[in-house]
């Protein structure tokens, strides 16, 4: 008695004042249930540090757990216990005295000191132990190795302690599971699901049996739910058990034995296997829960690197396969088994090879296994098999390349079933080898399978080291169908057989279209001149469908006669032949090809023209450059222009000189094409002559082309202002027309000098020049430096000029926004007179979107008063308030008091449809947006959001700002998008996602909750209450006291909670809603929502 009381005191002091203390009754239950003997004799006196620090939700079981561990150590002598909640103990010195540390259910504390982190990791890696209980999996936020320490990270608890859940014993013979007597069991507790759990790294001892229908039906986000596991870490060991929310777990005798064994394992006193067990995983490939089954298959894949794991998996899978009925599981089992099978699988699977329903599954495994024994089993089955079974076996043996199967496949060639004969032929074809070749040559399959036979012969021949010629000869023999003979020729060509040459020539002269076409298509691979000569001789008598590929191949070989034939073929009425001719000429590399190709291009359209030009562009040979230049200088303008394009494409050495000459040509077509070419390949030194040409140009086409060329050239240079010197110089003394053209060029190029010149030209004596300058500045130049000049002009003008100048000013202002957003906003604010018309104001709002500063929001908010641009103003404010991507860059959201004020203005407008003074907002990261509608005294609220839970919320709130008050509502209906969809009354400090609050809510569960968050971004505390829609909920605020109540009728109230929380005197009061599944909306029907005096 005394010891226990003292122990309670010790535990109370060290576990911390916050944790609830075990009652005397609980203590005696623990005492009664705890074992007196430990499973292992400690190798030395052991000290265990029970670390119960808690910064999160107050698990009242913490104190109970601490006492239980104490009791275990004391009663069995397995270890002595020291309690602590001080983070300071987690140092190298602090941990030194201990052999293991138990993280007892406390959570949400971080370990941010790098020295402490290193100490803890070094502790376990050096050979010590770590034990984790329940919520211990929810610590070390932001520290990946800390998460790894427990082996997983808490995600949620879909299974609440409202029922007994089936706990599956995955390791019936394991020392840590001895207490369970080889059985699985049921337990009432809160069951966690995890992220970051690597099933292939741990040995799972217990898991949630998801194949139980009721258990699997509870919506849960992960396919597999481990409960208890072990794994080695460095030289140390980790044991984790996620049970431990309910106090009564700690006086469950079997659990206590499990925990004791786990602690002794962690201490290193109880040897136990802790490598992953592929056998256990493989057993769950037969789980009735589809997601768990699939996860098991996928986990097994990741365990296949280790031979011992493959064997264990194979054993388990074979054991499962032995239990009928297999039904739809067969395909999955076969797939998993095929990856791990050894010869040990043969005993079970060999008989299946002769059973129609299972043969494919067996072959899937044996074919992938591929050992000599597996191949022998397939052969043995083939000897006895008939029909489709035999066909399948032959196929698998062929895939395995088993030459010794040939004698067994041969008899199938005489089978009555054509499918079997076909399979046999193809198998022999793939098996290759002389024996297969012999069998194929001797085979006499039905006529319908002739092509299959021929293919098999050719396939077989392609793999023969010696003797292939015989097969190809057989195929190519006279009397065989033409396509078969071509197949034979192809083989001989591949062997570079000398017979191929004569045979090909014979085929070309045969008069048979299939034979000649086949030979023609191989001509590029048959060496030697004799075949070329005979091909050329035979050419004229061939149909055009054969001439085309023949000519193409002669061209590829640069055959002497190819050019002659191609020239004639250019005029053919057969498109394919014309194609081949163009190709042959292009490949010839001869000067003689130039003019014909050019003429062909000139009289052709679209693609044919394009490819002839490509042929010219790619023509490479002696004297071609010079001949091309010459040809571009004479003849029809259209042809010359075309050839100048070719010269440009060729980038031949004399190209630019040639182009400059041609650019001065009196023929506009020629000049334009030459100028285009200069734009593409000219250099900085060509600028001055180009400008001269621009100035001298008479025709608009030529002037335009010259201008384009100057711009293109300038854009390719690095020092733009230097490059534009000739342009600026030419301005002085040029005609008005020329000046206008030069100004247009300058506008396209931009730069300081260009802006100055354009600015100057605004006051030019000639009207056309002035117009060109205005157009250049307003519409063309992409340089923010143009803004001041345009502003001045706008202010000083009237009518159309004013509008043009204003629009131009706005256009270039947008360009300046990236560098000087504040300046742009100021400029706009100061020039509102220019923005009197909706069109210009709209443009200005567009400019504001690029100014990511608070003053932009203030200005846009000001314009909310202008009805003709209201929509654009709203859109601009929203655009500024959120991060965006524009033109490939990220644009930050605008924040700060000015932004808030602007948004508030917008918000008041946005909520105008709600009965006053109600407002509404989404809280946190929510999509799609929530909404509120009020009609006939009832509210219909829709919201998305991840939840009201944890440190940050995602949901929706309908609110008013009030001080002390009572808020009440009846939740008529709630769409259960999730069991944790929540709806109810709330008092909240602010509209941030992590704001403190108190709420009384119903949920998608049979129970509701009271929830509270004490300070910004802290964890949420919750307590279950017996409320479910339809239900009334009420929250009364009196200073910092919040009284929570529920009612069935709105008259008789039951107080369910009383909370103390510090919130600002005036807070956000109203109704809150979250669907729990961000991306999906829930709908709540609410009536009687009222806020009254407290």
């Amino acid at each position: 008695m005394k010891t226990r009381t003292m122990l309670l005191l010790v535990v109370a002091c060290t576990v911390g004042l916050q944790a609830a203390q075990p009652t005397a009754d609980e203590a005696s239950r623990i005492e009664a249930a705890a074992p007196t003997v430990a499973p292992a004799k400690p190798k030395a006196p052991r000290r265990v540090l029970v670390f119960s620090r808690n910064e999160g939700f107050d698990h009242t079981a913490i104190g109970v757990g601490a006492l239980a561990i104490d009791t275990l150590g004391r009663r069995t002598g397995a270890f002595a216990v020291v309690h602590s909640t001080d983070l300071g103990v987690l140092t190298a010195e602090g941990l030194k005295p201990y052999d293991a540390i138990v993280f007892n259910n406390g959570y949400a504390f971080k370990l941010e000191d790098p020295k402490a982190r290193a100490a803890l990791l070094a502790f376990v890696r050096s050979g010590k132990g770590v034990v984790g209980i329940h919520a211990a999996s929810a610590n070390f936020e932001g520290w990946a190795e800390g998460t790894e320490l427990m082996g997983a990270k808490f995600h949620s608890h879909p299974w609440t302690p409202t029922a007994e859940w089936p706990v599956r014993n995955e390791q019936p013979g394991h020392p840590l599971n001895a207490a369970f007597g080889g059985q699985s069991f049921r337990l009432r507790d809160e069951i966690y699901t995890f992220t970051e759990f690597h099933r292939e790294r741990a040995r799972v001892l217990l898991s949630l049996d998801l194949s139980d229908t009721a258990t699997g039906a509870v919506a849960h986000p992960h396919p597999y739910v481990p409960i208890s596991w072990v794994y080695p870490l460095g030289r140390g060991r980790v044991f984790f058990c996620s049970l431990g929310h309910q106090h009564e777990v700690f006086w469950n005798a079997a659990y206590l034995k499990h925990l004791l064994a786990g602690i002794q394992y962690a201490l290193g006193d109880l040897p136990a296997p802790d490598a992953p067990d592929a056998g256990a995983v493989a057993r769950l490939v037969s789980s009735a829960n589809a997601a768990e089954q699939r996860d098991s298959m996928e986990t097994l894949d990741r365990l296949t690197a280790v031979p011992a794991q493959r064997l264990a998996a194979e054993k388990a899978l074979l054991a499962d396969i032995a239990t009928a009925p297999l039904g739809d599981r067969l395909a999955d089992l076969a797939e998993s088994l095929s990856k791990v099978a050894s010869n040990a699988s043969l005993a079970t699977l060999t008989p299946w090879l002769l059973e129609a329903e299972h043969a494919h599954a067996a072959r899937r495994v044996l074919q992938r296994l591929g050992t000599a024994e597996a191949t022998a089993a397939l052969r043995a089955a083939l000897a006895k098999a008939k029909g489709a079974l035999a066909a399948g076996l032959a196929s698998s043996l062929a895939d395995l390349g088993d030459a010794s199967a040939v004698p067994l496949i041969k008899p199938l060639l005489a089978d009555a079933d054509p499918a079997v004969v076909s399979a046999a032929l193809l198998a022999l074809g793939r098996l290759r080898g002389p024996v297969a070749a012999e069998a194929l040559l001797a085979a006499r399959p039905p006529a319908a399978l002739a092509t299959v036979h021929d293919d098999a012969l050719a396939n077989c021949a392609s793999g023969l080291a010696a003797g292939a010629e015989a097969l190809y000869d057989a195929l190519a023999a006279e009397g065989k169908p033409a396509r078969t003979r071509v197949l034979g020729l192809a083989g001989l060509v591949g062997l570079r057989s000398t017979r191929a040459v004569r045979l090909a020539a014979d085929f070309l002269e045969s008069g048979d279209e299939v034979l000649s076409s086949g030979a023609a298509r191989m001509l590029d691979r048959i060496p030697g001149e004799p075949v070329v000569a005979r091909a050329v001789a035979a050419y004229a008598k061939l149909p055009t469908s054969v001439q085309a590929p023949l000519l193409a191949n002669l061209g590829r070989r640069r055959a002497a006669d190819a050019v002659k034939l191609a020239l004639a073929a250019l005029g053919s009425d057969q498109p394919a032949l014309r194609q081949a001719a163009v190709g042959a000429l292009g490949a010839s590399g001869q000067v003689a090809a130039i003019l014909p190709l050019a003429q062909f291009a000139a009289r052709s359209e679209r693609e044919e023209r394009l490819w002839a030009l490509n042929a010219l562009a790619g023509l490479r040979g002696a004297g071609v450059d010079a001949a091309m230049a010459k040809a571009a200088g004479e003849g029809e303008p259209a042809t010359r222009a075309m050839l100048l394009g070719v010269v440009t494409a060729r980038r031949q050495p004399d190209a630019t000189a040639l182009l400059l000459r041609a650019a001065a040509d009196p023929e506009p077509t020629v000049a334009v094409e030459a100028l285009r070419g200069l734009g593409r390949i000219g250099g900085a030194g060509d600028m001055a002559p180009l400008v001269k040409l621009l100035v001298a140009a008479r025709e608009e086409r030529v002037s335009g082309a010259a201008g384009d060329a100057v711009v293109a050239l300038a854009r390719r240079q690095t020092d733009r202002d230097a490059t534009l010197k000739p342009v600026l110089a030419a301005l002085a003394g040029a005609s008005a027309e020329a000046r206008a053209a030069l100004l247009a060029v300058l506008a396209e190029c931009g730069g300081k000098a260009a802006v100055a010149a354009l600015n100057n030209a605004l006051t030019d004596p000639d009207a056309a020049v002035r117009a060109a300058a205005l157009a250049g500045l307003a519409d063309t130049i992409d340089d923010p430096a143009a803004a001041p000049a345009l502003l001045v002009l706008a202010k000083a003008s009237e009518g159309a000029t004013r509008v043009t100048a204003t629009r131009g000013w706005l256009r270039v202002l947008a360009l300046a926004a990236a560098a000087d957003a504040e300046g742009v906003v100021r400029s706009l604010a100061q020039s509102e007179a220019l923005l009197a018309r909706a069109e210009e104001r709209r443009q200005a709002l567009g400019v504001l979107r690029w100014c990511r500063v608070p003053s932009a929001m203030t200005l846009a908010a000001k314009w909310l008063d202008q009805p003709d641009t209201l929509g654009e103003a709203v859109a601009t404010l929203r655009h500024l308030a959120a991060p965006q991507r524009g033109e490939g860059r990220a644009l930050a959201a605008v924040t700060g008091p000015e932004a808030v004020a602007a948004l508030d203005r917008l918000g008041a407008m946005k909520d105008a449809h709600l009965p006053k003074p109600w407002r509404c907002d989404d809280l946190g990261d929510v999509t799609p947006a929530g909404s509120a509608a009020f009609a006939d005294g009832k509210w219909t609220l829709k919201a998305a959001g991840a939840d009201f839970y944890g440190p940050r919320d995602g949901g929706f709130m309908l609110w008013q700002r009030r001080g002390d008050c009572t808020v009440v509502a009846k939740v008529n209906s709630l769409v259960k998008t999730d069991i944790w969809t929540k709806a109810g009354v709330m008092v909240r400090a602010s509209l941030t996602a992590g704001s403190p609050y108190v709420a009384v809510m119903v949920s998608g569960n049979p129970q509701g909750v009271i929830q509270s968050r004490p300070v910004e971004d802290a964890e949420t505390a919750y307590e279950y209450i017996p409320a479910t829609p339809p239900s009334w909920v009420r929250l009364q605020r009196l200073g910092n006291r919040f009284v929570c109540a529920i009612s069935a009728d709105g008259k008789t109230w039951q107080t369910v909670g009383d909370r103390q929380l510090q919130l600002p005197a005036e807070a956000y009061v109203g109704f809150a809603l979250s669907s729990h599944n961000n991306g999906t909306l829930t709908t709540a029907g609410v009536e009687g929502l009222e806020i009254t005096a407290p």
């Binding site: 990741r302 296994l369 194609q579």
Partner: protein, 414 residues
């Protein structure tokens, strides 16, 4: 290589639009499969001046009937015939070429059968279901000398060629990283079991794939795209092959493969679909160039070549470069000029007539598919796969090598 560069000059039918070639000059076309994707090819095939669609086949009677009816309405004849068994269609001597528009588990058998029958083929991507059967397909195409076009139509899109020419011609400097991202997979449903609809030859639809109970979702593209029985890795291949193929083109590694592949994936939880929803795969070539292949949630959709002198990003309908002036670069005729194909179907038909190699031939398709298949294997096994591209084997990994092949369901055989 010279051959392919030369083929830049291969022209296209010069017939003015609207004028059809004489019947004797027309190629007779068959469709193997008349589902969603076949529909997208019908328009282009009907619009050619020198083709005649004469036969279609599909295991679903209402689909092939409607497809054939469309064809006949277009021509104003009744000559297009429908077949339930593709072998009958391939046996017709008058058919010159076929389009293979079936689920991936059928691609190998259809391709080899069509080659055997001497039919030129346009086969939808991805190439094959396993690396082993891909090699058999390439061998069959070569053996029979038929013209093969792989449905990676981005090869006939000038933007992709422009990006790859920049990469191949050193305009980006040494390419250290390529980023490939495509649409991710999906969770899918459990499927509703039920009887096979009347007339639907479900056994033929399954073909060489294992027997699984029928559900209407299974045989719909919404699900079979993402089921490993019919697709190697779901969108790892189904979409991935498009941009992986472009990466191959731009790196000049079309006829070889990576030395290492590794990655992770998030898989669906139960249900019919069992291929990656999101993934991150890194594969590396002997030169040290890395390709980072993910779903489009993790990287910009498309293909991005990053070199030490610049980068270029390209996708369907868009291209951009850093520095932007790269896009104004002109590749000279003395540099590496990549195959110019104006349109994917036209290129195929022209090559049929001239015997030239297409812009997306079988070996290239097989190599791109190999990368997609290795990615699938790597994410499932959760370890680095070392690949011998010459021997086409995985080095030192028993399970990975087993996954290069699968046993076909009898009586189907390669």
């Amino acid at each position: 290589m010279e051959r392919r560069a030369f083929l830049g000059a291969m022209a296209v039918a010069g017939m003015a639009r609207g004028l059809r070639a004489a019947p004797s000059e027309r190629l007779n076309v068959g469709f193997l499969g008349t589902g969603n994707i076949a529909g997208s090819h019908l328009g282009p095939m009907l619009g050619q001046p020198d083709t005649q669609v004469v036969a279609v086949c599909d295991p679903r009677p209402e689909r092939r009937r409607a497809f054939a009816a469309n064809v006949n309405q277009h021509y104003g004849t009744k000559d297009c015939r429908e077949y339930a068994d593709f072998r009958e269609l391939l046996a017709r001597p008058d058919i010159d070429c076929v389009l293979i528009c079936t689920p991936d588990n059928w691609h190998a058998l259809m391709t080899i059968a069509a080659a055997r029958a001497g039919k030129h083929m346009y086969s939808e991507k991805p190439f094959a279901l396993t690396i082993h059967e891909g090699r058999a397909m390439v061998q069959a195409v070569e053996r029979h000398g038929v013209v093969f076009q792989h449905g990676t139509q981005q090869r006939s899109d000038p933007r992709f060629r422009q990006a790859c020419e920049l990469a191949r011609n050193g305009r980006l400097g040494r390419i250290h990283t390529v980023r490939v991202a495509v649409a991710g997979g999906r969770q899918g449903s459990m499927g509703t079991l039920g009887p096979v609809p009347d007339g639907f030859d479900y056994d033929m639809w399954l073909g060489p794939a294992p027997v699984r109970p029928y559900s209407p979702e299974r045989v719909d593209t919404s699900h079979w795209y993402f089921i490993s029985d019919y697709s190697a890795g779901g969108y790892l291949s189904g979409w991935g092959i498009h941009h992986v193929d472009i990466a191959q083109w731009g790196l000049g590694t079309e006829l070889t493969g990576p030395v290492k592949v590794a990655g992770t994936a998030v898989m669906p939880q139960g249900g019919l679909c069992d291929t990656p929803i999101t993934w991150r795969v890194e594969y590396e070539f002997a030169t040290g160039t890395k390709v980072i292949f993910t779903d489009a949630g993790q990287q910009r959709e498309g293909c991005t070549f990053e070199g030490d002198k610049g980068s270029v990003w390209v996708t369907r309908g868009a291209i951009s470069a850093d520095p932007p002036s790269l896009l104004r670069e002109v590749i000279g005729p003395d540099e590496t000029q990549l195959y110019r194909s104006a349109e994917h179907h036209r290129n195929w038909l022209d090559c049929i007539k001239t015997g030239a190699t297409t812009v997306a031939p079988a070996e290239v398709g097989h190599r791109s598919q190999t990368i997609c298949s290795l990615s699938d294997i790597a994410v499932r096994l959760g370890r680095t796969i070392r690949w011998d591209a010459k021997a086409e084997r995985v080095i030192d990994d028993e399970t990975a090598n087993r996954m290069l092949t699968r046993a076909l369901r009898a009586p189907w055989t390669l």
